[in-house]
Amino acid sequence: MTSPPRAELLRAEHLTRHFKIGGALSHRTLHAVDDVSFTIGEREIVALAGESGSGKSTIARVLARIYQPTSGEIYFEGKPVSQIRSRRDRLRYSGLVPMVFQDPFGSMNPVFRVEHGVLRSLKLHRPELSAQERSAEAARVFEAVGLGADMRQRFPYELSGGQRQRVGFAQALAMRPKLILADEPVSMLDVSIRIGLLNLMAELRDTMGVSVLYITHDIASARYVADRLIVMYAGQIAESGPIEDVLASPRHPYTQLLLSAVPDPRAPLSAAGQADRGEPPKVIDPTPGCRFRWRCPLAIDTCATRTPVLAELAPDHDAACHVAQAGADQVKAFA
């Protein structure tokens, strides 16, 4: 089932980000993100899933311009992001593509009231507003995220984790964004609180037309809110496509492994892939070849010599796997 094609909002092309590690004299590089290309459309929630070290958080930070890409380009609303130089343009971009952070306890300055971040965002990004208008706008975004306008005067320590994360979204909303980069926004919250925030993200998409890049390691929550899923492994995209398609018939062995490991109280524990210890590699000065090959039960000779690239295996459903691309209709590595 394909949805009508959405207008493209952001396009990443061959995005790469490396970090030099070791001392000043070392030549080793950590390949945090390697040759990643994807698009995010308007009014859609794209889930970027993967384990620690998969590169998902690095991608968010590259998109937020906290890091510059080592190579590759990002196009936002059709225009290359690397051309953004003036302070005005930079401010404009950061208002259209804000970030929501993972840690509800660290994402707000404990010294100020919770509206501080919202008011500063408004002051910087919508300078045409008067102080009174700013205050009214702050009230509006607080209501929009489900917090009463009277919560604005509270201090962070008076709020629960879930409420603080909502303030994080309010800060993003104040800037009238097109795309919110949400870096594991619910991972540190209690389970019963998570749903409220996931519902909020869906509501932002539906009523305000805001897109969200939802970074997570919890695929079940991704399924709940996202339209599309991108699965990352060791800095590269393993598989991507409409979320129901990917979950119903995962083509990449890593995706299958991930899905088999998700505990579901309604079903007995899957025996597939139980031998796998869940230790993704740290990609330092890698050789060519598939980075999953050491854990993959289906690895063939090509997997050790040629790095697989993303190819479409079903409508809009891509996977980077030699075996899957060789035409096996249903690759079953961990099923």
Binding site: L91, F101, G117, S160, G161
Partner: protein, 324 residues
């Protein structure tokens, strides 16, 4: 709206263990919060009361000491009496007046050095931490060089070079030699804050660097900054008095250290005028204690884990109440 209880650890799913939030004080005006904090903590109360007494004495010395401190009109070497609360010294000066009037000089030095030292340290230490790179490198080298030089000998050299220190010289000398330690401390703490999410959030929303340093970083370090101020004020009192004692201050200034200097010059302890030496020493000690108590109290207010715990009586081997 329910809030987590302060003092009881609350866990977040997979996250760090928190003590019910970062700050422990109820909201309200800053002054109200400080007032409540002082009243609730015994060390703070004692320290504040002492400090306030000293400040009042410094501001209005004529209220309690009628006599002029320098006039040597009295009979020398009198003992304690109602007319002369601490007796008179070798020159016939009233000792009590000397101490009372001397408070002003001591407190001026303490506060001036405290403010100047902390101000310089904040600028250099926090800027180094936040700006990083070459800035951090050069500022740190400057800090470290001064840190390594032994403090007191340097003070002596500076004071001697200035041909005996007026109060201003003492303030400058002590400030120059003390700021580096605090700068190092502040830099370390600022470094730990550097990657906190709220700072990254400020960067991402487009704040300028100076704004982040002044508005976002420094206010979260107030407790360390206040503690530094108190520590530096305390050490200023000790160093200034020491310099005056060994004769590097201006012997004609009325101050506790100079009183000690004259007492030493006249061998007060040996010639049966012990109060002359002991009293100023006691004043220095009490003022120092006031600063130190406030410092402890500030630590405790800022970090609840340091507060004294009510001793929980547990008789060894016995059953707990209601147990079975």
């Amino acid at each position: 709206m329910a809030m987590p209880v302060s003092g009881v650890p609350t866990e977040t799913a997979g996250g760090p263990r928190q003590w019910g939030g970062v700050a422990q004080l109820p909201s309200g005006s800053a002054l109200g919060r400080v007032g409540r904090a002082i009243r609730s903590n015994r060390k703070a109360t004692v320290g504040t009361v002492l400090l306030v007494i000293f400040i009042l004495i410094a501001l209005f010395p004529w209220v309690i000491a009628r006599d002029s401190p320098t006039q040597d009109a009295y009979t020398p070497q009198l003992g304690i009496s109602t007319a002369h609360l601490l007796g008179t010294n070798h020159y016939g000066q009233d000792l009590f007046s000397q101490l009372v009037w001397g408070t002003r000089n001591v407190l001026i030095i303490a506060f001036a050095v405290g403010v100047a030292t902390t101000g310089i340290a904040v600028l250099i230490g926090i800027a180094a931490a936040y700006l990083g790179g070459l800035w951090d490198g050069s500022l740190s080298v400057l800090t470290d060089v001064l840190l390594v030089i032994p403090l007191f000998p340097l003070l002596i050299i500076i004071a001697a070079y200035a041909h005996g220190g007026t109060t201003l010289v003492l303030i400058i000398a002590i400030t120059l030699t003390s700021w580096s330690y605090t700068a190092r401390q502040l830099r370390s703490q600022a470094l730990t804050l550097r990657n906190r999410d709220f700072l990254e959030a400020a960067r991402v929303r487009g704040e300028r660097r100076l704004y982040i340093i002044v508005v976002e970083v420094i206010p979260t370090m107030t407790s360390l900054i206040v503690a530094s101020f108190l520590t530096n004020a305390l050490y200023a009192v000790l160093f200034a008095s020491s310099l005056q004692f060994i004769g590097l201050g201006d012997p004609n200034t009325v101050s506790w250290g100079t009183t000690l200097y004259w007492a030493e010059n006249n061998a007060a302890l040996q010639t049966g005028e012990p109060l002359w030496a002991i009293a100023p020493g006691a004043c220095i000690a009490v003022l120092g204690a006031a600063f130190a108590l406030l410092n402890y109290a500030f630590d405790e207010v800022g970090n609840p884990a340091l507060r004294p715990v009510r001793k929980i009586r547990q008789r060894k081997g016995a059953q707990m109440e209601g147990a079975q």
